[in-house]
């Protein structure tokens, strides 16, 4: 489904990704772990099409197409979904209006009939149960005044409504208490199918107690230095990232 080859990207002239290779197949959950500043969020942003990031080398093939040629909205319509680390507040735009406009834009692109208000509301109510979200949040402006947990639930609600094939969760666990973490993870697990794939970007292992990955990759200084199964995450939890840094560049550690 997704094949990343030798991906290099920079932000404001500074190279962040220095040759990432990653293959994700349908039905799989991949976790990308790494210390702060290793390039995790940059990778997520590049996949979603954020213009801030400039790709300087490499390619990303998604469902047989060059993903990097597509605009952010085309990527979304093709089934790429990024759950933001810091969801954006949009004053003056109600959550319902936003969700309905987004869903209908995606449906239109996919050649499906747009949903009317009644059908849309029925769908949203069903999906809201997944993330145990309060109904009143639908009528509030997008993310405005939402607690950290509510914002993250809202991300997963959007994901549930838009039904992507590739979900990318960028530090979805940050700022969540244990109950919210369980609810959010539960939502992600229920959305899992043999047709779609999920990439979980995280600093800590704890989210992976709830979302069990098939593969764990360690990103250090813009490169994946180690891949393994879920046990790799426990190893990182126990030993920290220092040993992984050594894998990347032992000389630097000694200096």
């Amino acid at each position: 489904m997704l094949e990343i080859r030798n991906l290099h990207a920079r932000v404001e002239g500074k190279e962040i990704l220095k040759g990432v290779d990653l293959t994700v197949n349908a039905g799989e959950i991949h976790a990308i772990m790494g210390p702060n500043g290793s390039g995790k969020s940059t990778l997520a942003g590049v996949l979603a099409g954020r213009e801030l990031y400039e790709v300087t080398d490499g390619e990303v093939i998604y469902k047989g197409r060059n993903l990097l040629d597509l605009s952010p909205e085309e990527r979304a319509c093709e089934g790429v979904f990024l759950a933001f680390q810091y969801p954006i507040e949009i004053p003056g735009v109600s959550n319902t209006y936003f969700l309905k406009a987004a869903l209908n834009a995606v449906r239109k692109y996919r050649g499906l009939a747009e949903l009317d208000a009644v059908d849309f509301l029925a769908l949203v109510k069903e999906k809201m149960q997944l993330v145990e979200m309060k109904h009143e949040l639908l009528n509030r402006p997008v993310n405005e005044g939402f607690s950290g947990g509510e914002k993250k639930r809202n991300e997963i609600l959007q994901m549930a409504v838009l039904n992507p094939t590739l979900g990318i969760l960028d530090e979805t666990d940050s700022g969540l208490d244990i109950d919210a973490l369980r609810i959010v993870a539960n939502g992600v697990n229920k959305l899992r199918s043999t047709e779609n794939a999920t990439v979980v970007v995280t600093h800590y292992q704890r989210l992976l107690n709830y979302i069990i990955p098939d593969f764990v990759h360690v990103l250090v200084d813009g490169r994946i230095v180690k891949s393994g199964d879920k046990d790799l995450a426990f190893h990182l939890e126990e030993h920290g990232y220092d040993w992984a840094r050594e894998l990347h560049d032992p000389a630097e550690q000694e200096a």
């Binding site: 605009s71 909205e73 979304a76 954006i88 003056g92 735009v93 406009a101 987004a102 834009a105 692109y109």
Partner: protein
């Protein structure tokens, strides 16, 4: 001096010639008290002259095209056929007391005063002038700032049409008053000089909608003066819609006096005209008065929209809230100049002013100029002005959910503008405004 002064002088000469012609047509009425006022205004205007961009109050607005245009006073034979005009269609509100004017001339057959009563009298200016000229003289000319705004003098000199609205003491739950000004804009450019006089007696409450719309695309100058007197504990909710065609110049001056515990709210929505200059001057003349000024302007193409407001806190314990927002497209230009005066007696004043502008084009330009003149010491005054572009993070967020770029622009622009729509209390009017905003976004390619 030099060229620009010539332009100002020539325009003055043209208006003087027009005025002499106007006087000749008055016959016996030429000696009335009303006409003496007109003549005095014309004299003062001749001394003052039209402003140049060297005038501090006019430095952002070039009147060149206006001053070079030869305007004529509208006469009955210039009026268009009214049979195909449905006055309700301009606002979509049925239950109103409506006066319709075409090129500034009252049009009885398109007006509807069925809902008037002793509590709410809505009359056209010309008939009041004929039957009760003292009423007009008592209501007009309450605030004089001809030096800052010479077009008020021009209106004074030429005015013979308009509306006189009187709300009786304790009268509330009244139908909204709708003043509809249609400009035909065909043939010779027209000078349209209506006067609106509003008096809300003690404890009364009034909703008034002042709407300007175009029937054609010709040139005209609408030069209007509105005077509002809000008595003790009365409340006036005033909405102005500016939807004239792009051949029109629109210059207006509004003066409101707000008495003890009274409130005046002015909600302005600007979409139309090639050039707009609004001057709005409110004075809180009684303890505990409140003044709310909200404005939204959305110029496109090469439209120029200039807004000058003055909020005068003359008494203690008065509140004023002002929010003007500009959303500018294409090569358009916007101006906001907001002055707040807090006089020595006006202790415990609470004044808030904000002007926020979004530029949706690299060629659009806005000038914003807050001015505070504070002479009292125990006051709370805040002001802020911003000029920016649509938030990149928010745009990316919307696009990352599948919304095309133009749609994302439209959603964020609408959200910015709709805050002011939400402050209008008549639901039918909010629907009209929503449609107008969406229409503007579509026309500018943001949909």
């Amino acid at each position: 001096m030099g060229m620009s002064t010539n332009k100002q002088d020539k325009a003055l000469q043209t208006f003087r010639t027009n005025f002499e012609e106007f006087e000749r047509g008055l016959n016996g009425a030429g000696n009335s008290a009303m006409h003496k006022r007109r003549r005095a205004a014309m004299e003062r205007l001749s001394e003052r002259g039209f402003p140049t961009m060297q005038d501090e109050e006019w430095r952002y607005t070039n009147l060149g095209g206006l001053l070079e245009t030869q305007f004529e006073r509208p006469t009955a034979e210039l009026l268009p056929d009214t049979t195909n005009i449905d006055p309700v269609s301009f606002l979509g509100m049925e239950e109103t007391v409506r006066l319709t004017f075409i090129d500034g001339v009252f049009c009885a057959e398109l007006s509807d005063r069925a809902l008037t009563s002793d509590a709410l009298r809505v009359q056209d200016f010309a008939s009041v002038l004929e039957n009760d000229p003292d009423l007009i003289l008592s209501l007009a000319g309450g605030i004089d700032d001809g030096d800052e705004h010479p077009f008020s003098l021009l209106n004074d000199a030429f005015t013979e049409q308009g509306a006189v609205i009187h709300v009786a003491k304790n009268a509330t739950d009244l139908p909204p008053v709708h003043l509809l000004f249609l400009t035909s804009g065909g043939g010779q450019p027209l000078l349209i000089s209506p006067r609106i006089l509003i008096k809300a007696e003690a404890n009364s409450e009034l909703d008034i909608i002042e709407q300007y719309a175009g029937l054609g695309d010709g040139r005209s100058l609408t030069n209007i003066v509105v005077e509002i007197d809000v008595a003790d504990n009365a409340h006036v909710h005033h909405v102005k819609l500016q939807e004239e065609n792009e051949g029109a110049w629109h210059i207006s001056a509004g003066y409101a006096r707000i008495a003890r515990s009274a409130s005046y709210a002015n909600h302005y929505f600007g979409f139309g005209s090639r050039l707009v200059r609004n001057h709005l001057h409110t004075r809180m003349d009684g303890v505990g008065a409140e003044c709310i000024l909200n404005g939204l302007f959305m110029p496109m193409d090469s439209q120029h929209m200039d807004h000058h407001t003055v909020i005068d806190h003359a008494q203690p314990h008065c509140n004023s809230h002002e929010l003007y927002k500009g959303l500018l497209f294409d090569d358009s230009r916007g101006v906001f100049s907001g002055k707040i005066i807090v006089r020595p007696d006006a202790q415990k004043t609470d004044a808030k002013q904000a002007n926020n502008n979004l530029l949706l084009s690299g060629n659009a330009l806005v000038d914003t100029k807050p001015q505070l003149e504070i002479w009292a010491d125990d006051v709370k005054c805040t002001h802020g002005a911003t000029i920016g572009r649509l938030d990149e993070d928010a745009l990316f967020y919307l696009r990352s959910r599948g919304l095309p770029k133009a749609k994302a622009n439209s959603i964020l622009s609408y959200a910015f503008a709709s805050e002011l729509v939400g402050r209008v209390r008549l639901g039918a009017l909010r629907a009209h405004l929503d449609a107008a905003i969406h229409n503007r976004l579509e026309r500018t390619g943001n949909a």
